[in-house]
Symmetry: C2
Subunit: 242 residues, 2 copies
DNA sequence: CGCTTGTTTGATTTGAATCAAACACGGTGG
DNA sequence: CCACCGTGTTTGATTCAAATCAAACAAGCG
């Protein structure tokens, strides 16, 4: 069940920056547990004030904010290697919830130890901050999409954004990757109604940009899709993983 | 011209967490310069790959993303005490620009020294990360506003959000604070057209929520406005300042 | 087999965008 | 001192993209 950090199959992927043996040792000691959460369950509840810090080891999740009258905004989707719960750990209370989209495996890092990481291994602390900055750019990008793009552009920008992230992680094979979202998720992420989301997706499919046969998406023309969305690549150097 | 960190009038405000003399010493040495930027000028250009890190000492600024065809999304507004340019410093290239909204004074922290901060003063590095997390919640909140709220709710949420930030900084006196934005800024921040922004603001004024006589805004009924916007307070503990 | 969850379709309404002008104002320069 | 800008705000008329309303449909499942 528990995966030892030295044998972590994730960190050897090309997307990630290699770590020193010393750093991995430290992480190994830091990691308190390796847990599973079923699809649909909250990893972090909104308002929770004792949320731990996690690394998403396997599966998909998303951050969201719920407003009083039931409306929900999905802030971003989380893929393997992403850090979960940094904000709540630092700020003492989660302003958002995090829900498992698929069954998920998480490496648990006790929040209480967070400050020690800064004292013990500056290099690692720096990486944590780097990851926070990276997540920020993701949300910046979404805000731009929701604020400025038309429905069709939004869907296109959203798909191409996920495609590129999945691609960087090596999850894309012959233009296709596993796609566990339903249309409600997409509409909640993009600020569109479910019906309009559906019709717009149908239109983009008809235009030949992509198709979604049984739980996987095939992006037939990534460049064309990006262009349609007026979405420009944000490519990162190999990223740290914690 | 140059303000010494020990005499910084900002850090003694109640909004900010006090720092130790040692930390302030360190900051004093870290601070390379104290510069002014005129209103309307870029503090960080989009795509710039050598942006420094700044603390906003006085004035207002905003982060924005420009998309190819001229549309612009304002990501968030920056008030005194806010950190500018952390993302670009860490990620090597700015995904966004930062523009001075008013004439601005900045404390300049050489980006190259950033890593040393982590090595030298973990406490300070932790604060930097804390501030990054806090800015994240601001953008999360905006994304929720733009994605889920109606035009009137957006304006209301936007105003009350600024009001609360200004209030925390002690900039509010008898429900009023300096308001250097024009309606174009507001529409670019909220994803609304200029015309509709204007009409919606007029409506909210007519409803008595606020008025904007010569460059200052008076929020007559903060609680009512927050309620109208379905916006719930996110209050932070005293925040660090760098 | 009926239930739930998710997708699809069509008809209708509406909020917000767009188009088009005025208007208000603080320069500023002849 | 006044005509002339430029920037920002305001107003009204019109159009349109997206929301809402209302069902049907498909598929997996206890």
């Amino acid at each position: 069940m528990r995966v030892r950090c030295h044998e972590c199959p994730l960190r050897t992927r090309p997307a990630f920056k290699p770590k020193t043996a010393q750093e991995i040792d430290y992480l190994e000691r830091l990691k308190r547990d390796h847990i599973r959460v079923p699809a649909g369950a909250d990893i972090i509840r909104p308002e929770q004030d004792d949320a731990e810090l996690y690394t998403l080891f396997a599966g998909w999740a998303f951050r969201y904010i719920q407003i009083s009258d039931g409306r929900r905004q999905i802030l971003n989707f989380l893929l393997p290697g992403d850090l979960i719960g940094l904000q709540p750990s630092l700020l003492d209370a989660a302003q958002h919830g995090v829900e498992a989209l698929t069954p998920v495996e998480l490496c648990v890092i006790p929040r209480a130890r967070m400050f020690h990481v800064f004292a013990d291994l500056p290099r690692l602390a720096y990486d944590v901050t780097w990851l926070a900055a990276r997540e920020q750019t993701l949300v910046d990008d979404s805000l731009t999409t929701v604020g400025q793009r038309s429905a069709a552009e939004r869907i296109a920008a959203f798909i191409i954004g996920l495609y590129r992230r999945a691609d960087a992680l090596g999850l894309v094979a012959s233009n296709s990757f596993l796609f566990p979202l339903n249309q409600t998720h997409i509409s909640d992420a993009l600020g569109l109604s479910l019906v309009h989301t559906n019709k717009t997706i149908a239109r983009l499919k008809r235009l030949g940009f992509f198709s979604i046969p049984n739980g996987a998406i095939v992006v037939h023309d990534p460049a064309g899709l990006a262009n349609f969305a007026h979405h420009h690549e944000t490519d990162f150097a190999p990223r740290p993983i914690v």
